[in-house]
């Protein structure tokens, strides 16, 4: 059962990991993007539609990234140029994404897509226990394994990462050194939206092979919450995402095994687990957030 739960944690966590990395990128640059849920939906639909029409799930994935980024650019325009309230705009952008995808997705409900097949890594997938848990997934899941440390490395070990974090900590300072904070935030939002779109694409073309209205069911918002609880750190974020989806996998297992536990308790398990564990981990007050996060920057 532990093996099944952990496998489910990884399989179900991938989309949240991508969306979370996207949100983390935006927030590290100083912008909260509650449009992540919308970007995920756009990514899921675009990947599905392009996958069906071209027969190539990989082109679908690219389209998903582009669609996620495109929706995030609405947020960028409103927040970076019109200086609108980030929270309000983010919510509106998510509603926009939900509305647009249910409108344009109508014709694709129930249509079949060429799946992004699971690929068991030769050798590694034969390892006892770890083989099934880690090395028998779809290619995007492997990509997420690489993406998490890559984002961490990029943020703290590269010049680009330094600039991005500066945009989130002290945009005025960045401006003094001749770099436009707005430009950096634009890039962060596009990358962030693209990653959320990628997460959505994984849901539709690899995990479920399905498009249906609102199919992300709040995973984008879960990603936003996880970023904050994880103290804006990619590794902790991934841990949180796997914890969340592991708790879902666990409650499904417990149901199927006929455990006499209240269903309501089981269903709240993912949320409760994440809250409790992260609260315990951060014995310090949750801080360490980018200093300029959410501040309106009049650049």
């Amino acid at each position: 059962m532990i093996e099944a739960v952990l496998t489910g944690a990884v399989a179900g966590g991938t989309s949240i990991v991508f969306a979370g990395l996207g949100e983390l990128t935006c927030e590290r640059a100083g912008v909260i993007n509650l449009g992540t849920e919308g970007s995920m939906l756009c990514g899921a639909l675009a990947a599905y539609v392009v996958g069906i029409n071209t027969g190539s799930p990989w082109l679908g994935v690219l389209a998903g990234i582009a669609a996620g980024a495109l929706l995030a650019s609405v947020h960028a325009v409103m927040v970076l140029h019109r200086h609108a309230n980030q929270i309000a705009v983010g919510l509106v952008v998510t509603f926009l994404g939900t509305g647009l995808t249910s409108l344009f997705g109508q014709d694709y409900v129930g249509k079949g897509v060429q799946p992004l097949e699971s690929w068991a890594i030769p050798g590694l997938s034969k390892l006892p226990f770890l083989g099934t848990v880690l090395f028998d997934h779809d290619p995007l899941t492997y990509l997420s394994f690489v993406a998490v440390p890559l984002v961490a490395w990029g943020l703290w070990r590269t010049r680009a990462g330094l600039i991005l974090r500066s945009a989130g900590e002290g945009p005025e300072v960045l401006e003094i050194y001749g770099t436009s904070a707005r430009k950096v935030r634009w890039i962060a939002l596009l990358v962030g939206g693209g990653l959320a779109g990628l997460g959505g694409a994984q849901l539709s073309t690899a995990a479920t092979l399905n498009w249906s209205e609102g199919m992300t069911v709040g995973r984008g918002f879960v990603a936003v919450a996880l970023v904050i609880f994880a103290g804006w750190h990619p590794l902790k974020l991934a841990g949180g995402a796997y914890l969340f989806s592991g708790a879902i996998a666990l409650q499904l297992q417990l149901q199927a095994r006929g455990w006499e536990i209240s269903r309501y308790l089981l269903e709240s398990l993912p949320y409760v687990t994440v809250l409790v564990v992260l609260a315990l981990l951060s014995n310090r007050r949750i801080h360490g957030g980018p200093a300029a996060l959410e501040k309106v920057f009049e650049g």
Partner: protein, 376 residues
């Protein structure tokens, strides 16, 4: 300042765009007034008319009814929320001349009832609600006995399973889902009494990611036949097929998604009932007809709107004969829940020789023996 105003305008514009996309309700009710002398009938749906499920089935039947009854024109409104907003949509239809309104979602009932009080000249029929003692001549409810074909599908499932473990993915424990799960279990146990039905509640009518994990989880438990009570059905059927297990469908014929593992299923066919209701109102004989109360149609009254889907090739003639026999017994007044029926703890719920009424089934709140799962 002007910046702020412009920004506000854009947000407002976006919001309106969203609102426009989010609910294409009310105003999308199609075209002109009743002046063309046709008998106008309005249909409201809670979801999109192409959901491969409940709403699509009702929509398709409304179109078929329009063709079947001469001189009828149909107004359609999809994505009508189960709130007071639905009253505005119905009023809009009445303004356009509607004489009958079909409110097709469970949660539309209260609003249809309000509208019936305000519009004595218009007939309101509601799909799935219970009118009880409400004294309104222009209001009726109707529904099929969904659990009858589900019981029959249970017989097929019980015949093809080798592990004697069946899987049931459903949304929430409400009377309709419980009745279906129980009927399915009893049907399967009529073939092999020791069969277990393992249930998973997903907590959502459509969460494909959880659905696909639920299928894997059930397969881990050695389940080899999977059925469901969900709004979007495709992910579960495809995942089941990919694993080489058997599928029992729900809502619609999805045999094309599971060419190897499709056993059978249950699907909607509302056309005969809609047609008859509209004809009755059109003839001015609704009051006092069987439709002005709580009309429930089962196999014994004929034309159950919930019918059996086609069989897969693995279903043997012996099994089909068993199913025909059970079907015959329902047509003769029997019930899938004819006693003795015990709950999970072995407590007798329906004693030998007793069978529940429609109202009792529609308020069911227990799992029968052999179901793995917990309600509360």
């Amino acid at each position: 300042m002007s910046r702020t105003i412009r920004a506000l305008a854009i947000v407002l514009g976006l919001t309106m765009l969203v609102a426009g996309c989010g609910s294409s309700s009310g105003d999308s009710a199609s075209s002109s007034a009743s002046s063309d002398g046709k008998f106008t009938v309005g249909f409201i749906y809670v979801g999109p008319k192409d959901d491969f499920g409940y709403n699509q089935a009702a929509y398709e039947a409304s179109v078929a009814m329009e063709k079947a009854v001469p001189g009828v024109k149909v107004l359609q409104a999809e994505n009508v929320p189960e709130t007071a907003e639905s009253e505005a949509t119905m009023q809009n239809m009445i303004d356009k001349g509607a004489k009958v309104i079909f409110a097709t979602s469970y949660g539309h009932y209260e609003f249809a009832k309000n509208m019936a009080e305000k519009n004595p000249g218009v007939t309101f029929v509601h799909q799935g609600g219970l009118k009880g003692d409400t004294k309104l001549d222009n209001l009726g409810t109707y529904f099929g006995t969904v659990y009858e074909p589900v019981y029959l599908a249970g017989i097929a499932a019980g015949s093809v399973t080798k592990s004697d473990k069946l899987g049931y993915v459903y949304a929430f424990p409400i009377p309709q889902t419980l009745a279906n799960i129980n009927a399915f279990t009893l049907g399967a146990q009529s073939v092999k009494p020791g069969i277990k039905v393992i249930t998973i509640a997903t907590g959502s009518w459509c969460d494909p990611s959880v659905q696909s994990q639920s299928v894997k989880t059930l397969l881990d438990q050695d389940v080899d036949v999977i059925t469901q009570h969900q709004d979007c059905t495709k992910t579960i059927i495809e995942a089941t097929e990919a694993a080489g297990a058997y599928s029992i469908g729900y809502h619609a014929d999805a045999s094309s998604l599971a060419p190897k593992g499709w056993v059978t299923g249950s699907e909607w066919n509302w056309t005969p009932l809609y047609t008859d209701i509209v004809k009755t109102v059109k003839d001015g004989t609704f009051k006092g007809s069987k439709y002005d109360g709580d009309f429930r149609v089962g196999l014994q009254t004929g034309d159950n709107p919930f019918v059996q889907s086609k069989y897969g090739s693995m279903v043997t003639d012996d099994t089909k004969a068993l199913i025909e026999k059970a079907k015959k017994s329902f047509e003769d007044g029997g019930s899938p829940f004819a006693g003795p029926v015990e709950d999970q703890d072995g407590k007798v719920i329906y004693a030998k020789g007793k069978q529940p009424t429609y109202a009792e089934v529609e308020t069911m709140k227990f799992f029968v023996k052999g179901v793995v799962g917990k309600i509360g």
